[in-house]
Symmetry: C2
Subunit: 173 residues, 2 copies
């Protein structure tokens, strides 16, 4: 559980057109906006629905109760205001493992930026924070999977130093 | 922490040449054998060392302390004996997430079978148990990444129903 004062404080911030882009821990109030970001996507559109928020609320409770999982949002705060709309999100998890000399690894999931705010460096700011936080927590490796069809995402991550070394395999249960 | 009686009991078993192949939770005593399995591998050989076991012991303690992570070993128990050599291993983790209607997903890591015992269905037995356990815990999705060079592994997982839908990207920190 993130204390209220931590949840409200900015993890990272940058001035962009229209105000300040600020990363912070998600709260339950952010959840509808997070789901809208996940749904506003070629693949997510068929997978998400805001009709029934209960499954998302349960998932948020599980994430929020475990310090190994962080749900982060980015908000666009207009100049002179205290808060703004949720325009970006990602999840970061910290996983122990025996491989690679018992390395901790971090894992990125559900990275999304509002379509109207792309190509302004917000994704780079988010992943940059995630990399720094992973190092701070002693991780030796960071990993993610992106769908084969997301070629722009592959280029984005390769520019940040990620290597497309693996095949990501999924099985629906 | 797995209670001692659970750790000793078989999760799954099958008769094979030479005895019974039995899955159970790993204990600290299994760790050298697990590391040898990880090191006996084209990619693992350069990544693992049994010279200093302390980092592996720390990782095992972290896995063992968190019910979201399981380190499983397979042992080959000769007929008429109570225990046998560790000949296989994998890790299974259970991860909450907002995506896919707040789906829990399970993740396989470090799947290894002793080179002398391949092509006897041990991998299929292990992943079959992992799939059943993931369903039992309410996961809607199971995922793993395998190195691009492991083409036999890709075929193995595709035969079990996994789809090579994603690119797995890694960044060494």
């Amino acid at each position: 559980m993130i204390p209220a004062d931590d949840a409200a404080s900015a993890l990272s911030a940058a001035d962009i057109d229209g105000g300040t882009f600020r990363l912070r821990h998600a709260t339950p109030a952010d959840l509808p906006a997070v789901v809208r970001l996940l749904a506003d996507d070629a693949l997510g559109a068929g997978r998400e629905t805001t009709q029934d928020m209960k499954p998302y609320e349960n998932a948020f409770a599980a994430i929020d109760a475990d310090p190994a999982h962080l749900l982060i949002i980015g908000e666009l705060v207009p100049h002179g205001e205290a808060a703004g709309a949720v325009v970006a999100t990602f999840q970061l998890s910290f996983l122990p493992g025996i491989s690679r000399k018992g390395a901790w690894r971090s894992q990125l999931e559900g990275v999304r930026v509002d379509a109207s705010l792309r190509s302004q460096g917000l994704g780079k700011l988010m992943v940059g924070w995630a990399i720094a936080e992973s190092r701070r927590r002693g991780c030796n490796l960071m990993q993610l999977t992106t769908h084969q069809s997301r070629t722009a995402a592959h280029r984005f991550y390769e520019q940040l130093g990620f290597e497309a070394s693996h095949v990501g395999m999924k099985l629906t249960l």
